[in-house]
Subunit: 441 residues, 2 copies
């Protein structure tokens, strides 16, 4: 029994042992005159070891902190909860064909009750099996590209995703869904936006903030939304599909170059910055509502994959007392480009003018975005900005710094000529930058 209760400690462990309770049992807990009934859940390795976790009849888990006087009673013996493979539902005939590519992350992971941590576990096939609603939306062809938490992803994974998505579209898929960890999903979405030129159909990245075997998981609804966008969305762009709000409401599709993870844990963590989301959809009715007018239409253009990225680009967030010698180090180290997250309209200390000038002279492409995130850089307003422009820094308008870094890696992967890289950075290729607005008024 002791093994079953591992993770629990102190008065929680004592109360559970006293009652002979085992994970999976339906139990009643009395504390402070209140009673809670539910299924005892194995204690995860994180959180308070003196909180007893029960799954309530409504499907939610709550933690009840044990304290002197707490009473636990076993109502019914149950089977220890664990992960089970669900049967694959039959594929619908006559439905649009989409590809589902697994890459890892929470959406394809589960809590390991042994270690208490969340580990990548589900294959794309498993995911599909776990969300039977998909069989009514599209004929899904699932594949695992790789299985990695998204914080470990690199430019070579962007390459693999771009080539993988293109291959599926070329062989007739009407859209692609990529299951991805949320941590770097914004970066991958930007990377695919640049790598997949002339896209004829939607490529939708989707993740989950809670793993799919937990009752409050957003995995299933996000995935259903992604499948709706991929199979029937009128836009042919790379987008991220996640909950628009905290409730069980619509799923938003955010343009790949404009999206950012803005909360560590909320299901509506992903936001479009300096633009509206592309679209939203209702997962029950399947209805898609476009929120912008200037989007790339499905079926237009012919696909060209440009999956090369050069990783010798550095993102530097400026802060007071930052030592400018980091720029010299980057030049000496062989970096070919630097994106600054400057302050305000696009500023760094005047001490950086010299090192930036030297970097530009040595062929390093130096760009300026803003750590404000919202708004646009305008380096013509203050003398500091004018000096930086004179030193050769490229202002990036309202482009997100994260998107700017990815775009710079991509531009450096396309050409060895710094002049061409500069021209690529200053142009709007995938909705990453909007037309100049006059700073005035």
């Amino acid at each position: 029994m002791a093994e079953d209760l591992s993770g629990y400690a102190g008065s929680a462990l004592e109360a559970l042992r006293g009652a002979g309770a085992r994970p999976g049992d339906r139990i009643r807990i009395r504390r402070d005159g209140e009673a809670y009934e539910g299924v005892l859940i194995p204690r995860p390795g994180f959180g308070d070891p003196e909180s007893i976790i029960v799954k309530l009849p409504n499907g939610y888990n709550i933690g009840i902190r044990a304290k002197p006087g707490i009473e636990v009673e076993v109502l019914e013996r149950g089977e220890r909860p664990g992960y089970r493979r669900a049967p694959i539902p039959p594929l619908g005939e006559g439905l649009p064909r989409i590809a589902l590519l697994g890459t890892g992350g929470t959406i394809a992971s589960r809590v390991d009750y042994r270690t208490g941590a969340v580990e990548p576990a589900l294959s794309a096939e498993d995911l599909y099996a776990a969300v039977p609603e998909l069989s009514g939306i599209a004929r899904v062809e699932a594949d695992v590209l790789f299985s990695e938490f998204s914080e470990n992803l690199e430019a070579r994974h962007w390459r693999e995703m771009a080539i993988g998505a293109a291959k599926r579209l070329e062989s007739g898929a009407e859209g692609v869904v990529i299951a991805h960890g949320t941590d770097t999903m914004g970066y991958s979405a930007a990377a695919l936006s640049f790598a997949l030129r002339g896209l004829p159909a939607p490529v939708i990245l989707v993740g989950a903030q809670r793993s799919s075997d937990r009752p409050s998981s957003d995995a299933a609804t996000n995935l259903i939304g992604a499948a709706i966008f991929a199979s029937r969305g009128p836009f042919a762009e790379v987008a991220v599909a996640m909950h628009e709000g905290v409730s069980d409401g619509p799923i938003a599709a955010h343009r790949g170059t404009r999206v950012r993870k803005c909360h560590t844990s909320r299901r509506d963590a992903f936001k479009s910055i300096n633009s509206q989301p592309l679209a939203r959809c209702d997962v029950r009715s399947g209805r898609i509502e476009m929120l912008v007018e200037d989007y790339r239409r499905r079926g237009e253009g012919s696909l060209e994959v440009r999956p090369d990225f050069d990783e010798r680009a550095l993102l530097l967030k400026y802060y007071p007392s930052m030592d400018p010698s980091i720029v010299d180090w980057a030049v000496d180290e062989g970096y070919r480009g630097i994106v600054f997250e400057g302050t305000g309209l696009g500023h760094v200390s005047k001490k950086f003018s010299g090192p930036i000038r030297r970097a530009v002279e040595e062929g390093v492409v130096v760009c300026m975005a803003s750590q404000c995130l919202w708004g646009r850089v305008n380096m013509n307003v203050y003398s500091t900005g004018r000096d930086l422009l004179a030193a050769g820094a490229i202002p990036l308008g309202d482009m997100l710094p994260e998107t700017a870094l990815v775009k710079l890696m991509w531009a450096l992967g396309q050409t060895g000529d710094p002049g061409e890289v500069r021209a690529i950075m200053a142009a709007n290729l995938a909705g990453e930058m909007s037309g100049r607005t006059l700073y005035w008024g």
Copy 2:
């Protein structure tokens, strides 16, 4: 005349020359069947040189783009607009005494019509003269500490501000207002929050998103709000006073450790992250409304200034394909601390575990905040986070990465013992971190 019209070009210059118009003249412009009347403004060096700028009777400036067929007519000769020193109003008797310290920035700057750029120009004395309403709120004693755009500020300026504010409070001021450039005002506010221990009265930083000689400037209302908070606010904390919304509504006071500039140009650019603002005030009635309950009360404690910061701290924002050798470089370069802006709940690639472990072994303090900005790091959920914790990284809860960097510089300035620095980083000293919430549910 040509000199007066410098900055204008093309058909704008042609139309103005044709009419014999000079800056300061009241003119009428006809274009596309519409007429605009106002005072011709010297063309700033930025923006579209073919747009004619006129100040409308309502005080706003508009740009009218010249095109073929545009007509300009001089209605009345006027004086070229320029900056004039306003007379200082008499000081109110019996009002609370506050100190106003000038440091530079837009709030103390004006557009230089010669170069077209905004330059630091007004002294704190000038500012006070320019906002006569202040004389009804407090007896203001104005001083200039230094005059610098905030992107050039460093830890030594934080030191100077802390000592300057403490000196005024010790000599009887009932509050301090610091006029500051907006770019790094959040960093300075955090720095003063740590440097001024046992603060007995409010220290309010205030800035402007538009310089004070421009009609849409927010300088005057922000300054009035700051003076109200400094003279009568019930809280004894370091705060930033700026417009709460885009309209001419209330001024918010944001806690110094929780505030961030979140837009490049809007007047409501400053936001409290992971907390409510401390308070808001109505500049007309002078009424202050507290928005939180857990604030430090005015008059409590005795002031202790700890103005030492050690600049050997590095802020690194993580991104995919980031080369971990930057950590080794920082250790070799003599950095004593690193704040990572990790992804999601506080992650970086597994490739960083080795370099982080080495850094910690060599006495470098490594902390983890989240680039999401909203939410809190929780490194117990995923195996990546657990590995980083094992390597010695300190999780910073819901602390802003910018505040974390400033706090690390301050902690390094207080002690040479990495163990003590780690303890300082993990404690909540100035509202920078809120109590742990269980990641569950």
